[in-house]
């Protein structure tokens, strides 16, 4: 930095010697030759702060990292769970100290004031009932570094003789804005809780949460499963009151030693039934437990939240429900696919959707059952259908179109990528006589074709060559779907053959 290695942070002993951040290493070594240096790694620091923010979500779901070395928690309304605001601040400091960090915490009515108090003052708690005069008096004692302005502006303020925020408060506002910019005034107002802070951290908090805390940690899996059932029972009335059903759930487990584990489950239709939600989560837990759900010393906070919800009208129940009726079938099938997807993985349980496309590999899209039908029709050869399946769609499954009966025969099985073969044909653009696939020679006894499929002309010109498809049957009776890629003499001089499917 600036042409020399510089210190980024120093500990208390070094500070006593007069070493400050920003000093060059050579100067620091000159003062004390036996200095111990460690390389600064800002990325790892940021990752650590993010992990701590995750951990601090056990106190409130609204937590965000406050770079470079802080956390910001919104504890509005959550303080009573911990026995009061003072107790909350003490507990946060104690837990951080137990994790091995030196921390200072402060609670204040506004985020900017809390940040400033934690960094620049010893005051830990500003109660909600503080008047504006008290807040002003508190802010007056803070140095102007608490405003977090640019170094140039701060230097200008110091030159003008303004050293603490109290000096700024005592001056009239218009000349301050003219000299140091409107930003300074906005920050000052945010500090005294008069105006909104221009920088608010983005808290992502789900709308529907149910949580349980345990003084001792939960270690046994049966206890975790039972708690998940109770949490699902707590969550469902919230969903019902809002008239929505959950499409994606997330269960977060906070361990006593600070680790956070997450479990997510998705459904193919909005669910509100606590038994089914709990069953899905337990399936997910079972599939994770095979690799090892490390409970360590136990989980002491479990939180279940519905991340994605969808409008769900209450189901109409018939007087006499049929045994194998149509409505019951759809629901049962959706539940079965959800259970299979929870254990095997959502992407491994797929439904097939016909698409209006010429290329055989794009004519059918396989979308995971938990998502809806894909919308987009691929335009390029390289635009494989799997890309659509990665985006969750909102269209319900009933939109599967049955498309008109086709005249051309299609194989029952298709390879994901056509496999190259060596084929010999009588004429370059005729059907194959024999071909070698996977080192086995097959002799063609019967064939049907050719069927010409050209790449979409509206795509890029270099994307694909015309394909001539043949159904062939070899001497043993096996059926193959081969194609020759490239028209002889017009598109390519040496057309290649591939096998695309089997029947």
């Amino acid at each position: 930095m600036k042409g020399a290695e510089r210190l980024t942070s120093v500990d208390a002993g070094a500070q006593r010697l007069g070493l400050l951040p920003g000093m060059a290493v050579v100067d620091a070594r000159a003062r004390r030759p036996s200095l111990v240096l460690a390389e600064a790694d800002p990325k790892a620091d940021a990752a650590l702060v993010a992990a701590l923010a995750d951990w601090s979500r056990r106190f409130t779901p609204l937590a965000a990292p406050d770079p470079p070395d802080g956390l910001l928690l919104d504890v509005t309304g959550a303080a009573h769970l911990f026995g009061g605001e003072a107790a909350l601040v003490d507990e946060i400091e104690a837990r951080l100290r137990r994790l091995g960090f030196a921390a200072r915490a402060a609670l204040a009515p506004g985020p900017a004031l809390a940040r400033a108090l934690a960094r620049f003052s010893d005051v830990k708690l500003v109660s909600d009932a503080a008047t504006q005069a008290e807040l002003d008096a508190l802010v007056a004692a803070l140095p102007i570094d608490a405003l977090e302005l640019e170094a140039g502006t701060l230097a200008g303020m110091r030159r003008a003789g303004l050293d603490s925020a109290g000096d700024l408060l005592a001056r009239p506002r218009a000349p301050l804005a003219a000299r140091f910019g409107q930003e300074a005034l906005t920050r000052l107002d945010a500090l005294t809780c008069r105006g909104r802070d221009p920088i608010t951290p983005c808290f992502e908090a789900p709308a529907f949460i149910a949580e349980r805390r345990f003084p001792d940690g939960l270690t046994r899996r049966e206890d975790v499963e039972a708690t998940l059932e109770r949490l699902a029972a707590d969550l469902c009335p919230l969903l019902e009151r809002a008239g929505v059903g959950a499409r994606r759930l997330e269960a977060v487990f906070y361990r006593v030693d600070g680790a956070v584990k997450r479990l997510a489950a998705g459904t193919s239709r909005p669910l509100r039934d606590p038994a089914r939600l709990a069953a899905l989560l337990n399936e997910r837990l079972a599939s994770v437990a095979e690799e090892g759900l490390d409970t360590g010393y136990g989980f002491d906070v479990l939180r279940l939240s519905a991340i994605e919800v969808e409008n769900a009208a209450p189901p109409q129940t018939a007087l006499v429900s049929p045994d194998f009726g149509v409505g019951a079938d759809d629901r049962d099938l959706a539940d079965l696919l959800d259970r299979l997807g929870a254990r095997l993985g959502l992407r491994r349980v797929q439904r097939l959707h016909p698409r209006a496309a010429h290329l055989p590999e794009c004519a059918v899209a396989a979308a995971p059952a938990a998502f809806g039908a894909p919308e987009r029709i691929p335009q390029k050869l390289t635009d494989f259908c799997d890309e659509d399946a990665r985006r969750p769609m909102e269209r319900p499954l009933e939109s599967l179109r049955v498309f008109p009966p086709q005249e051309e025969m299609r194989p029952l099985r298709l390879f994901e990528r056509p496999e190259p073969i060596e084929a010999t044909a009588l004429v370059p653009d005729g059907p194959p006589l024999r071909f070698r696939w996977r080192r086995v020679l097959h002799e063609v006894v019967a064939f049907e074709g050719p069927e010409r499929i050209a790449p979409p002309w509206w795509g890029a010109a270099q994307d694909g060559l015309t394909r001539d498809y043949f159904h062939v049957q070899d001497r043993d009776g096996q059926l193959f779907w081969l194609f020759r890629e490239g028209l002889y003499a017009t598109e390519t001089a040496a057309p290649r053959w591939f096998v695309h499917g089997l029947s």
Partner: protein, 273 residues
């Protein structure tokens, strides 16, 4: 022990076993004797329970899977609804490809009640098959898997059979890579399938009609006592008609005559069903 006492005991045990089996079954399948024992054995087993479809050679695995699909379609037509779940393993998908939607539609399948499950290992396949059979939403479950005789034995197959009976579905297992003689299972029907070779009358003829739905198969095991003796060495040809979702005997091929030899007006043909 005297001979008549022995026969009495055996009869008593048979009655006990039949009572236990009848308790599990939802509805006893009526044994309808049509003309042919072979087709009847197939159709009766197709009403529910567990069937195994083995390929004759390892390269006949796609034909075996197609036959399993045909039996599943027939089961769905008989039940009049229900879903079809197809379970494929990663290894099988790489070797033989995945089921193709357009081809399935050509076989008469409605894609809105079809689900494709991709499992990683045979253990997952068996678990998914049991779950799907037990839920009453499925009419048939087809599973292709590279099974090992140590993994799939009497107890596992018995569990699958009970699950199929409870859910009223047909379970079709198509093991790949191991020959049939090494498995002992509680399945009600065991069939070995090979692709039907084309008749070589004319050089390079066009494909026969219903070419993907023609197979040669032989019954290795069927529910004994109802259909008399089955001959495990006899190969029969069979055809599946996708429009009617029905099995037919494979007749010898009739190729249309050349255009110049055909009469001006076609004589009325009698269809043999």
């Amino acid at each position: 022990m005297s001979q008549s006492g022995l026969a009495e005991r055996i009869g008593f045990l048979r009655a006990r076993i039949a009572a236990i089996e009848a308790r599990d079954r939802a509805a006893p399948a009526p044994a309808r004797k049509g003309g042919d024992e072979f087709l009847d054995a197939l159709l009766a087993a197709g009403r529910g329970g567990l069937s195994e479809i083995f390929p004759f050679r390892p390269s006949d695995a796609p034909a075996a899977a197609a036959f399993a699909l045909a039996m599943a379609l027939r089961a769905r037509a008989v039940r009049g609804g229900g879903a079809l779940v197809f379970i494929v393993e990663d290894l099988g998908a790489r070797e033989f490809g995945l089921p193709y939607g357009r081809g399935l539609v050509g076989a008469g399948l409605d894609l809105s009640c079809f689900a494709l499950v991709r499992a990683r290992r045979p253990r997952e396949t068996l678990w998914a098959m049991e779950e799907a059979l037990r839920s009453s939403a499925c009419a048939a479950v087809v599973a292709e898997s590279a099974l090992d005789p140590r993994l799939y034995d009497l107890s596992v197959s018995r569990r699958l059979l009970l699950a199929a009976r409870r859910g009223g579905a047909l379970g079709l297992l198509a093991p790949q890579g191991t020959e049939a003689a090494r498995f002992s299972s509680a399945a009600e029907l065991r069939v070995e399938v090979a692709a039907a070779p084309p008749p070589v009358f004319v050089a390079r003829p066009p494909l026969a009609p219903f070419a993907p739905f023609r197979w040669r198969l032989r019954l290795l095991k069927a529910r004994a006592g109802v259909f008399g003796e089955i001959d495990p060495s006899q190969w029969r040809g069979i055809v599946f008609d996708p429009e009617r979702a029905a099995f037919r005997h494979a007749f010898p091929e009739r190729l249309p005559a050349e255009a110049c030899d055909r009469p001006a007006a076609a004589p009325p043909r009698r269809r043999r069903a």
